[in-house]
């Protein structure tokens, strides 16, 4: 509970946990209890709350319970109705889904594909395995032209390939004993034959889908269920640039740059009734042919603690939460700024924020009664102070304005 109450930013997670706990609270505490579980995931690419004015971009939410119910919703931009999607399965045997909804979509076949504020949602309660999934993106630009470029280069490649293969093959063959540890994973990823590297590279290029893709604000929230576990996963990315996607054998791009990513995972083991959670945040992630190079991971930094100016800055930070009722959760932030918390909620900027929660109770066939876990209601009592000394701060700013104005006037007189 100590962790849960630490910041207002965890309110949303607590709400997720509340949904989970609420499910149990509504479950009769009978002698022979059926299995009960719930998982929720929520991701936000951008969440800005400036003194009560909210802007959310790239939001996805997913919830699945043992009722069985599954709910998924997403929005490219919360303010644009055309970018929203929603799917609800409220009874067993349902499988609704929505096509991708975009506020803007301009596809130019094979050359360029521009989409803005898109989302897609699906829910399913088939086979007693509820599933909810939603994806959203704020903007996506796919630059095609690969086939065109290859066609243009083909005559040149045909002429040069034998020579290049020989030269490059000799060079890499020489270097491999020295740089084998570095080269081998990369060559393996490309499935390059050192005897004919250019030819195999051209073959690899034929698998490339685009020259480059630029995605801003991609988020995904999924809750999946199978016989063994319930998994709630939320992912959010501030921005991602992929160069030559599909080049590697695995389908990974030549180079992938992800700015501000966050992933929160919570899992409920149906056989043991235990829950676990994990987070994976980063400020900047580089991938070369699918090989991860994570950069920047830190703990939250709080400034001016205990004052109205209290501000918390988290870059590549996250945490797991264990609630007293057995529900667990995880929160991950690519970048999170909570500025001037004392000022009516202050300014909250979250770039790539992901959170997930699960909880459950396995089926019991004993005659012993089971008490439902206590409901998690809130993280703190409502803030109703409008804590800032508005008058004093306002007068200070006016005084500062007067001083700066005087400086300007002194300069004018001097001239």
């Amino acid at each position: 509970m100590t962790n849960v109450r630490s910041t207002g930013r965890l309110c949303a997670l607590a709400l997720s946990a509340m949904v989970v706990a609420g499910l149990f609270a509504s479950t009769p505490a009978s002698a022979d209890n059926a299995e009960a579980f719930a998982g929720s995931a929520a991701a936000r690419a951008l969440n800005l709350n400036a003194l009560g004015i909210k802007v959310t971009a790239g939001s996805t939410d997913a919830l699945a319970t043992s009722s069985p119910e599954a709910h998924a919703k997403g929005a490219g931009l919360a303010l644009i109705a055309d970018s929203a999607s929603k799917a609800d399965a409220t009874a067993a045997g349902q499988n609704p889904s929505t096509p991708q909804a975009c506020a803007l979509h301009i596809p130019i076949s094979g050359i360029l594909d521009v989409a803005a504020a898109c989302s897609q949602s699906a829910a399913s309660t088939l086979d007693a395995n509820p599933l909810a999934a939603s994806t959203a993106t704020v903007a996506a630009i796919d630059v095609g032209l690969v086939n065109l470029v290859l066609q243009l280069l083909q005559p040149i490649l045909d002429a040069l390939t034998p020579v290049l293969d020989q030269v490059i093959g000799t060079v890499t063959g020489t270097l491999q004993p020295l740089l084998g540890g570095l080269l081998d994973p990369l060559l393996g990823s490309l499935n390059l034959d050192l005897n004919s590297p250019v030819s195999s590279l051209v073959d690899a290029l034929k698998n490339v889908t685009n020259l480059a893709t630029v995605h801003v604000g991609d988020t995904a929230s999924t809750v999946t269920t199978d016989a063994g576990k319930v998994s709630a996963v939320a992912t959010a990315k501030g921005g991602e640039v992929d160069v030559l996607p599909g080049l590697a054998v695995t389908g990974a791009p030549l180079l992938s740059i992800v700015l501000g990513s966050a992933r929160a995972t919570s899992t409920f083991d149906r056989s043991t009734g235990q829950s676990s959670s994990a987070f994976d945040p980063s400020l900047l992630t580089l991938q070369v042919l699918g090989i991860n190079v994570p950069i920047g991971l830190g703990a939250p930094v709080t400034l001016f603690a205990g004052t109205v100016l209290e501000s918390t800055i988290s870059i590549g930070a996250g945490r797991t939460i264990q609630n007293p009722d057995g529900t667990v959760g995880a929160v991950a932030d690519g970048v999170s700024l909570q500025l001037l918390k004392g000022l009516n909620g202050g300014i909250v900027l979250e770039l790539a924020h992901a959170e997930s929660a699960v909880g459950g109770a396995k089926a019991l066939i004993t005659t012993q009664s089971v008490n439902p876990p206590a409901e998690v209601q809130a993280v703190e009592l409502a803030r109703t102070g409008a804590e800032a000394p508005w008058l004093e701060m306002g007068l200070m700013l006016i005084l500062a304005a007067f001083v700066s104005r005087r400086l300007g006037r002194r300069w004018m007189l001097k001239r």
């Binding site: 509970m1 109450r5 509340m18 009560g52 205990g306 109205v308 004392g342 009516n344 909620g345 409901e375 209601q377 809130a378 993280v379 703190e380 009592l381 409502a382 803030r383 109703t384 102070g385 409008a386 804590e387 800032a388 000394p389 508005w390 008058l391 701060m393 306002g394 007068l395 200070m396 700013l397 006016i398 005084l399 500062a400 304005a401 007067f402 700066s404 104005r405 400086l407 300007g408 002194r410 300069w411 001097k414 001239r415």
Partner: protein, 208 residues
């Protein structure tokens, strides 16, 4: 020369700096005026909102929604009257920052007004009409009236105001009796703690 450059000389040598300073002055002035005017503006906003909520509270639609237990967050729920400190405001459902712009909000997971159990209401102590500004002045025995769309009741303050930490959710715990809990930030102008008033049911009022 450069080492002894004072502010005026610096400004004389940098036209762009002077322009920036002018823009900064204007920005600071506007920000200052906005901050000074914010409490007043929020009170005006809350006043207009209360007018609308008062009409909603009297509407047949809300009466039906109340009977069905389907009051949405931000909708009118009850009117609270505390004669000793001059409070007479409509309480909305929910305690989200948005809902609390109405001045006072009902904790969604607590009992409905006048029902059996613990009814909890949060109210602003500064800004947004500051209905609970003087909550600390309530003494045991003071009366608190709740008027819902389907009736009303009166509670009586049972003990002196409590000061608790923001995380002390025990004040919201359910009870077997009909109790009322009021919360607001404490001390005035700070969110460091919460001031809590506990009251017990005294009598029902005639149904509307």
């Amino acid at each position: 020369m450069t080492q002894n450059l004072n502010v005026s000389e610096l400004l004389s040598s940098k036209l762009w700096l002077r322009r920036t300073l002018s823009a900064l002055s204007a920005l600071l002035l506007l920000s200052g005026l906005a901050l000074v005017g914010y409490p007043l503006a929020s009170n005006l906003w809350q006043g207009r909102l209360q007018d609308r909520l008062g009409k909603q509270l009297a509407s047949p639609q809300l009466q039906q929604a109340y009977r069905d237990r389907k009051i949405g967050t931000g909708d009118s729920l009850t009117r609270i009257k505390i004669p000793d400190i001059g409070v007479d405001v409509v309480v909305v459902e929910g305690t989200t920052p948005s809902a609390l712009r109405a001045g006072a909000g009902h904790y969604a997971n607590t009992s409905l007004p006048c029902d059996v159990g613990n009814v909890a209401i949060a109210g602003h102590r500064t800004t947004f009409g500051k209905p609970f500004a003087n909550l600390d002045r309530l003494k045991p025995g003071a009366t608190i009236e709740l008027d819902t769309p389907v009736g009303g009741c009166v509670y009586q303050v049972s003990k002196d105001p409590l000061v608790v930490s923001p995380n002390d959710l025990s004040v919201l715990d359910a009870s077997g009796d009909r109790t009322l809990t009021l919360t607001t930030c404490h001390p005035k102008g700070s969110a460091a703690q919460r001031l809590v008033i506990k009251a017990t049911w005294s009598k029902d009022l005639k149904s509307a």
